[in-house]
């Protein structure tokens, strides 16, 4: 850092006492003046919102008249998760399990179980369940939508990170090895070209691509193609709780990410030629070259792309907002969208802030961890 800041030619010598400090501040008054607009904007739109979000996450606050301090209750509600088991109903006299007309075991509804056990399950709602043997295992939560959204987020994080890295690596390696530099340049331009179309257009197009035919309305592209194979394959992809997540992940196929490809290509271009010569001397094929030389040398750019993809996947929700609005039945809800709905539809700004704080903690953990790794990488390279 020291090399970055150079004293101005007429700066006074290093002062040590307070009077000199004031003198120095006065001398630098024009510099401060230059920074005033920057910091005024930052105070209003960055520092204050940040502090406010942390502080308001401890409140039940509707943004208007209700503002109650609730301590950690918002976080407790968001993160509360419990197991409950339900055994089959048994005959009170004989102790034999009861069966319905079809011969299936009969279970008490989990909602009733929780209502009958108010002390333990007050404010809990059913989230999901599995049956092992004759016993039902229920996962119940105070905010099952948030728990589901976190699960979905994990799925999207894995998928988005994979999409952001795998295809771009493949394309970058292909581009790097192209014999013709002119074509490499043309491909580079083409990779960036789709950015001229507003991002929302791709989302809207893909929403249409998943449409089912009905009446004289055409099916979307995806169902058109599936219909060519077998009309039975056509499906309301975004309207089925079981297919909505895979459909959202599929969106954007074949997931070409021009910016990431170029960043990775830059990484490849910076590999010294001697290293290639050395590997080639060993008689390595393309795959070995990739594994032994290119992949290790790309670690820096890959980590960079990964961190960006991760940050985007944890807090992004524009696509889901437009394509499904979290539906059907909250099946595609993600934390960002749940925050948005709590704030702008339910006026629960305190609760929404608490969701924001949880996401902030997740992101800061990722960022710090990746910084640590990046630093060790730099030392290793140096």
């Amino acid at each position: 850092m020291a090399t970055l800041s150079r004293p101005v030619a007429d700066a006074p010598p290093m002062p040590s006492n307070r009077r000199n400090l004031l003198q120095r501040i006065w001398d630098a008054k024009f510099v401060y003046l230059i920074l005033v607009p920057t910091f005024v904007l930052l105070v209003i739109f960055a520092y204050y919102p940040f502090v406010n979000a942390l502080y308001r996450s401890l409140y039940d606050w509707n943004g208007v008249n209700v503002s109650n301090y609730v301590g950690m209750e918002n976080f407790a509600t968001l993160l509360s998760l419990k197991f409950a088991t339900v055994d089959p109903k048994t005959d009170e006299v004989t102790g034999e399990p009861l069966r319905d007309e079809a011969g299936n075991l009969v279970y008490e509804d989990i909602r009733r179980v929780m209502r009958n056990n108010e002390e333990e399950f007050e404010d809990f709602k059913a989230y999901t369940s599995i049956q092992i043997g004759d016993r039902q295992y229920h996962l119940v939560a105070k905010d099952p939508v948030f728990i589901r959204s976190m699960g979905n987020m994990l799925v999207f994080v894995v998928a988005d990170v994979a999409k952001a890295i795998l295809i771009p690596i493949l394309l970058a390696v292909m581009l790097y090895h192209l014999w013709s530099h002119r074509w490499r340049y043309i491909f580079r331009i083409m990779l960036i070209l789709p950015a001229v179309v507003p991002g929302v257009v791709y989302i809207l197009l893909w929403r249409d691509f998943f449409k089912m035919p009905s009446g004289n309305q055409q099916a979307g592209l995806v169902n058109q193609l599936l219909g060519l194979i077998d009309p039975n394959l056509m499906h309301t992809w975004l309207g089925d709780v079981n297919t909505v997540i895979p459909a959202l992940i599929f969106t954007g196929f074949p997931w070409v990410n021009g910016a990431n490809t170029l960043i990775l290509l830059a990484g490849l271009l910076s590999i010294p030629g001697e290293l290639y010569d050395a590997v080639r001397m060993d008689g390595a094929g393309a795959w070995t070259t990739f594994r032994r030389l290119e992949l290790p040398m790309l670690r820096g750019p890959i980590r960079l792309v990964l961190v960006f993809a991760l940050i985007g996947a944890v807090q992004g929700y524009t696509g889901i907002l437009i394509m499904t609005n979290g539906g059907p039945a909250n099946a595609s809800m993600v934390p960002g969208l749940w925050l948005y709905q709590n704030a702008f539809q339910f006026n629960r700004y305190g609760y929404a802030s608490a969701i924001g704080v949880i996401l902030f903690i997740i992101l800061i953990t990722f960022t710090v961890a990746s910084q640590r790794m990046l630093r060790s990488e730099v030392e290793y390279e140096g």
Binding site: D60, N62, N65, V66, D109, R111, R112, K125, R207, F210, K211, M212, S214, G215, N216, Q217, T236, W237, L238, G239, D240, V241, N325, G327, P328, A329, N330, Q341, N342, Q345, F346, N347, R348
Partner: protein, 350 residues
């Protein structure tokens, strides 16, 4: 409710007036290989939740006096006299008391179960619930004029769009449209439908609210403006559509809904779409807590998407509804705490 008269006539289907006729007509349309109603189970298609209040409030009429406990001195409810409800409304504290007594608790009150059964019957007969889950509200308009669906629920403001769009279609796709009033449930659907018939979603439904505690000068301006807007002269303009579009020269000889304000004439040559029908109504039937968007959004999800979409059964949906309404009412009591009459609640709930 708009319908494709050409299609109805070709298949010998009559425009329904009762709820059961409506369901039968839908099945007949499906038997003829068409989709009766294209709906989207999303907040931006009102077709599926609009009728909820109309049917539910109708079912709850016998409970009005039991719920509206903070009413003015000497008040009685008369279903045949719409003016009997003027100045009355269900407040959050009244709703909270009625909920806890079970009158407005969906898990307990029979009216909610009856409505849920009817809604499910309608979804199965008149719509394609699977497609409705993925559909979007902005597609439903086109679905009607392009012949995808045969019935479409909307207001009279839709007429000009419909006429224009039909005119743009190729000759062979055009059809004659007409309307029928929203079908009314009868005692065939349950004894709760014994007082009068359904109120149409028409006429002067809107009240105007001038907030309490407003600066007196602003209050005077607001009231003055409302007087102007509801004056005979202005209301006449609003309620007689009969006009010529200056840009296109197209004539729109149909009327908006017949005026509810006494003394407002229909413009000469205007044709009423159907006669005025009015019953006293109080808006008891609560899908969600007053002023609470969260319980409303939850209702749209568990009732619309999960229940009508066939993911959960009627017992579950009524339980969910009960929980959601209870939470929502608690939030509303907090939001409107300055107006809540705690003494009234304490006196009525042991």
């Amino acid at each position: 409710m708009f319908y494709d008269k050409t299609f109805f006539d070709a298949h010998g289907i009559a425009a329904p007036t009762t709820w059961n006729e409506f369901i039968d007509a839908c099945w007949a349309i499906k038997d003829a290989g068409a989709l009766p109603m294209y709906i989207a189970l999303k907040p931006n298609d009102a077709q599926w939740f609009w009728p909820t209040g109309m049917i539910g409030n109708f079912a709850m009429r016998s409970k009005v006096e039991e719920v509206n406990l903070l009413h003015a001195e000497g008040w009685t409810f008369d279903v045949e006299d719409p003016t009997s409800t003027i100045g009355e409304s269900i407040t959050v504290d009244e709703a909270w008391v009625a909920f806890n007594k079970g009158i407005l608790d969906p898990a307990v009150a029979p009216e909610f179960r009856i409505y849920a059964e009817m809604a499910k019957e309608w979804a199965d007969a008149c719509t394609d619930p699977q497609a409705a889950l993925a559909a979007d509200g902005n597609e439903v308009y086109q679905a009607f004029w392009t012949g995808q669906s045969k019935i479409f629920m909307n207001g009279t403001w839709f007429i000009s769009t419909l006429v224009n769009e039909l005119a743009n279609l190729p000759e062979e796709q055009q059809f004659e449209w007409s309307i029928f009033a929203h079908p009314t449930p009868t005692t065939e659907n349950g004894d709760v439908f014994s007082m009068g018939a359904i109120n149409q979603n028409m006429n002067l439904r809107n009240g105007f609210i001038v907030p309490k505690g407003l600066d007196p000068a602003k209050e005077a301006i607001a009231i003055d403006f409302l007087r102007f807007m509801t004056s005979t002269e202005e209301a006449t303009k609003l309620f007689s559509l009969n006009r010529v579009d200056e840009a296109t020269g197209v004539e729109y000889p149909w009327s908006y809904d017949p005026p509810a304000i006494v003394g407002i004439p229909m413009r000469p040559g205007t044709e009423a779409l159907y006669p005025r029908i009015d019953y006293g109504e109080m808006g008891l039937f609560l899908t969600s807590a007053p002023g609470d968007t969260q319980s409303w959004t939850e209702w749209l999800t568990f009732f619309g998407q999960e229940y009508l979409g066939g993911m959960i059964d009627i017992d579950t949906v009524l339980e969910e509804w009960s929980f959601s309404l209870e939470d929502g009412l608690e939030r509303s009591l907090e939001t409107y705490r300055d107006e809540v009459d705690q003494a009234f609640i304490d006196a009525n709930l042991p």
